[in-house]
Amino acid sequence: MFRLAQALCLVVLLTVSGAAWSATGVAFVHGTGKATDALNDYWTADMVNSVRSGLPNQSNYVVINCDFEQYMWDSRASGCLATQLHNFITSRGITDLVVLTHSNGGNVMRWILSNPTWDSRYPTIIQATRWVNALAPSSLGTPLADAVMAGNVFEASLGWLLGYQNDAVRMQQTSWMAYYNATWLLGTAGRPSLPTGFWNVVGSDVPAAIWNGAAYCGGYQYQVGLAITKLWLNSCSDGFLECTSQRGAGSLWFIDEQRTRRGRNLSHHQSRRDCHDLDVILRNDL
């Protein structure tokens, strides 16, 4: 009887102390754009609330709002992200952070992970991060950025090359990302691995047909141009990024149809929404 009581006490102690030692939190990091209300404009409250319901303390979440129209190293991009993550970690005592990034948000987060000496706050963020779940990250850039940046420099004045697009689009051209991956970023093939897990969720096809119910998730208007944008990409893509880019850094967590409800595909837009049980998969991962 005494032994049983001892064992029970031990179990209770271990459970309580375990919870006290580790405070789990989740951060939502948006993609290209200057966000002021990413909760509603980028992720939607349905997605965020569904995911954070998997936390022991549901208030341990942060939705990042930064200017990701800038280059990833810019203080308005990675500097802003570091400020918001660092504040979240230190103010709430987070010791076990899961970071969810979408699209170019993966590059900005990978900048922090790859350059821990850039800013003395970065090591704190890295140490607290359990892993990054990178939803459709543009790790190798996209031919769509190539297609919109280039013009004929032999006919036009050169100046418009700069004014035509924001820096984030310039940066996501494929040969630009090849440069940054080989020089400043880690986690791609042949480069040192990152100091924390960078697990990719890959959208591998797009349901664009009007009769396909799966296409309506997240808003059908977001699917209309897919048939055209896909033509710049190879056969495995989410309509904005090729699978090779989404798997370009870190490790594969899953390809959409391996885990989603009924094996449905996630278009680039749907991989930031509560579509096809993506929110449930992310919630169960916390």
């Binding site: 190539d146 036009a156 050169l158 040969s175 630009w176 880690l186 141009g225 798997r247 594969l252």
Partner: protein, 418 residues
């Protein structure tokens, strides 16, 4: 007495370790980046934009990124060791007047994707399918204008493709002939500046532009490989225009074609206006080749960075085995800034094979002249790897954080014997 003996023994061991710590530089590799001397002409150099002033060192084990989940697969393998860009298309500038008369575009296969956009992102011109007319080799054709076969600027922007609102894209029928496409659009302002992008996903003819590495030091010779082929046959370019463009797009330098068909620039230039973190230089190539009466036209862009030689390792390398690995590297600089060193540390296993122990990065603010940066790998990290001496430092990089330059890179850099 016994305690004193242990202390003496430990001290002797430490001394022995100090005595035997030997660091030697390995011979530079063929593709290493290294300045023979520092640039003294640094008048145009941008001030360092670094914000951090504290020295920071961070080291981690290579398997840390794989913890917590079953491993399916790693990152996408890189197709070519040489940085390469490929193209199946080209751009043409036009005006509204040109499009009213008809613009002629060579097409090397059916199924070409055409995008017309206003050059000015804020333009409010109306591009529409109804105003378009298309012909190939003089015969009128139709694009696949279904609900899915035509996209407006708004449709493409919803997908994240950052085109101007005033855009229209469509695909020609896959059954359409190769030859000369004539595209016309009525009703546009005559002076309206436009760009037409032709992308040929069904064409076997792919152009490639390659460079041995994307980081060069100013004054180095630039040599680009250019080819157009379908995997079996290589076409001889009939015309080539090629320039290097500065990051601010204010300057360009022509590339010439050598006897081997490579594009060369004798000395990599530095832009007159230097600004930290402004972006990369780009090589732009516009080329055409002929095959069986067809014209294959291709545009290519390849990014690279050109750095002035403002810092380098000065040859000093010391290991102080105070528990872990503590490597001090001498750095010679011609200007103050925050400099970063990256290193991959390899150790020797029981079978004598070198395997990765840790990746370490360290940065500090250095004044102009001679300075040093210390790389530290903790004893716990070293011990948990199960690897020992001799150690090797690979992929050693010296970077300028405040100006975003890679200044030195050595594939195999140092051997450490303990």
């Amino acid at each position: 007495m016994k305690r004193i003996q242990i202390i003496i023994f430990a001290s002797l061991l430490t001394l022995a370790a100090h005595a035997h710590a030997q660091v030697e530089w390995l011979s530079p590799g063929a593709n290493d980046l290294r300045a023979e001397r520092l640039d003294q002409n640094i008048a145009n150099l941008a001030p360092s934009s670094h914000r951090e002033s504290h020295p920071v060192n961070y080291a981690w084990s290579p398997d840390r990124s794989l913890q917590g989940r079953p491993y399916q697969s790693g990152p996408t393998p890189i197709a070519s060791r040489q940085p390469t860009s490929t193209s199946q298309g080209y751009w043409v500038d036009a005006t509204g007047g040109d499009l009213a008369r008809g613009v002629h575009l060579p097409i090397s296969a059916g199924g070409a994707v055409i995008r017309i956009s206003a050059l000015d992102a804020d333009s409010r011109i109306a591009l529409s399918a109804e105003a378009l007319s298309l012909s190939v080799n003089g015969r009128l054709i139709e694009a696949e204008f279904g609900s899915d076969g035509m996209a407006t600027g708004s449709d493409m922007r919803q997908q994240g493709m950052s085109v101007p609102e005033a855009s229209l894209a469509f695909q020609l029928s896959r059954e359409s002939q190769a030859g000369m496409l004539t595209i016309a659009h009525r009703g546009l302002p005559v002076e309206q500046a436009l760009v037409i992008h032709v992308h040929e996903p069904e064409s076997p003819w792919i152009a490639q532009l390659g460079l041995p590495r994307q980081n060069v030091l100013s004054g180095e010779m630039l040599t680009f490989d250019l080819s157009i082929g379908d995997g079996r046959e290589r076409l001889q370019p009939g015309s080539i225009q090629a320039v290097l463009v500065s990051p601010d797009a204010a300057q360009s330098w022509p590339l010439s074609v050598n006897r081997s068909g490579q594009l060369v620039l004798d000395a990599a230039p530095l832009a007159a206006r230097s600004e930290a973190g402004i972006g990369l230089y780009e090589a732009h190539v516009y080329t055409e080749a002929q095959i069986k009466g067809l014209t294959v036209r291709r545009d290519l862009t390849l990014a690279l960075n050109i750095a002035p030689a403002i810092a380098r390792f000065n040859g000093i390398a010391k290991d102080s085995p105070k528990g872990g690995l503590s490597l001090t590297l001498g750095v010679e600089t011609s200007t103050a800034g925050r400099y970063q060193v990256n290193a991959e540390i390899y150790g020797t296993d029981a079978r004598g094979q070198l395997r990765p122990v840790a990746f370490v990065q360290s940065a500090a603010v250095l004044a102009a002249g001679q300075g040093q940066i210390e790389l530290n790998v903790g004893q716990d990290l070293l011990a948990s790897s199960g690897l020992g001496s001799p150690y090797e430092v690979r992929n050693l990089m010296l970077l300028d954080q405040g100006r975003m330059y890679l200044l030195e890179q050595r594939e195999r850099a140092l051997r450490i014997l303990r």
